[in-house]
Amino acid sequence: MKHVIVYGPGCKRCDTTADMVKTTAQMLGLDVTVTKETDMARIAMAGVMSTPGIAVDGKLVHTGGLPDAGALEGWLSA
């Protein structure tokens, strides 16, 4: 099971990103939990300077803007 964290202070894009992760996981039939991290300090500590950021199993894979759908599939199924 993979654990995905979406970093973002709660802007619209961050919500969209979290939804994208969920639907992609469902589409691929993967067991994925998604948490949203909205705390500014934790976001910064994770090394995210432009939100939304995505970490899969503790590893930061993406920052800044909506992720590319193809790339997202790659991170989740890797």
């Binding site: 202070p9 500014m40 300090a41 910064a44 300077m49 432009s50 920052t63």
Partner: protein, 353 residues
């Protein structure tokens, strides 16, 4: 842009992208050159007299809206492509450990081309400071990034003229450099919120960052298209409302009505414009068409520039966001320094023009 091709279903060869963009650009130029005759022709279709007040206002509206929108689409696309060459991580690497002075100038310039959203101002601030970017240099970036943006420049260029646009660009940069330099000189690192200082001295220094992957030129074009969709999709309503209001001012506010309250003669108008601008959180897109109309009615350029800069650079919501990392004292210094800078720009311009 005519290059909106879905590439996920079947990959489009690179040459088709280049060709489509080139064709789009040629088409853009062809249409842009026909806008004025087109607007006049559309007015001639209405029962309005082309030389009456309402006829002129309508022609003005029908010409300005497509003109500004077309300029916006082009410039936002180009900036989207340019921004794909930059990232906050790269900018941080360029700025970290940089001496003040040159560092401030670099930070302000990078503020224009680095992708930035005010919603991530705080993580970015911490990311910069914790990696050894001096506080003043960080402020230069944070002031320039929202203030000198392509939407403001396009609107100023399209509605008021290139001279005012160039003036706004250069003084916006100077203000960001100067204000950041002064804040740096004051050595206020101790006035950051406690928890930010802790990251500063420890954990954040070796913070991980997302691996950057190589982008192809087509990826960059896509970034440009996304930027157009995002930005133009967000600001078009403001532009329409602003230009409509501007057209009303053109038509119905008596000539020189503004000269008394916003003219060069009234010294207090500059500070008043700055104070009025702070709680206003309209984006540049809505303010500039109104600004243009006020200029036409005798408002002084410096007063108007000061108002614009204050609206954009000293917005209340952004201060509330920054309050999380800055102590109240540091925030007050920030507002004081930037506000004074804007005042100087305003007075200077009223003196020159």
């Amino acid at each position: 842009m005519s290059a909106r091709i879905d590439t996920r279903t079947r990959p489009t060869p690179d040459w088709l992208w280049h060709a489509a963009l080139a064709a789009g650009l040629v088409l853009w130029v062809a249409i842009y050159r026909q806008l004025l005759p087109l607007a006049n022709w559309l007015v001639s279709l209405t029962p309005l007299d082309a030389h009456s007040h309402s006829g002129e206002a309508l022609a003005f509206f029908l010409y300005d809206v497509p003109k500004v929108m077309m300029l916006l689409v082009l410039i936002v696309f180009v900036m989207g492509v340019v921004r794909s060459f930059f990232s906050p991580e790269k900018t941080r690497a360029l700025l970290s450990g940089r001496a003040e002075g040159l560092g401030n100038a670099m930070a302000a310039s990078l503020g224009i081309v680095t992708p930035f959203c005010s919603c991530s101002a705080v993580p970015l601030f911490i990311g910069f400071v914790s990696a050894g970017v001096p506080l003043g240099v960080t402020f230069s970036f944070l002031i320039a990034a929202p203030m000198v943006n392509e939407v403001a420049l396009v609107l100023l260029f399209g509605l008021v003229g290139w001279k005012v646009a160039a003036t706004y660009l250069s003084f916006g940069l100077l203000l960001a450099i100067g204000a950041g330099w002064i804040i740096g000189r004051l050595n206020l690192e101790g006035w950051l919120q406690g928890w930010v200082r802790d990251i500063h001295t420890g954990a954040g220094a070796g913070a991980p960052s997302a691996p950057s992957h190589e982008m192809t030129m087509v990826d960059r074009y896509r970034e440009g298209l996304t930027a157009v969709k995002d930005i133009v999709g967000k600001v078009w309503v403001w532009i329409l409302a602003g230009i409509a209001l501007g057209a009303l001012i053109h038509g119905y506010v008596p000539q020189d009505a503004m000269a008394r309250i916003m003219g060069t003669g009234a010294w207090w108008s500059v500070p008043a414009a700055v104070v009025m601008g702070i709680p206003m959180y309209t984006n540049a897109a809505g303010v500039i068409p109104i600004v243009e109309a006020l200029l036409g009615k005798g408002a002084a350029l410096g007063t108007v520039l000061a108002f614009m800069m204050s609206v954009i650079a000293l917005s209340l919501p952004e201060m509330l966001i920054l309050r999380k990392v800055l102590t109240f004292r540091l925030l007050a210094v920030f507002v004081g320094v930037v506000g004074t800078g804007i005042l100087c720009v305003g007075f200077l311009f009223n003196l020159i023009f």
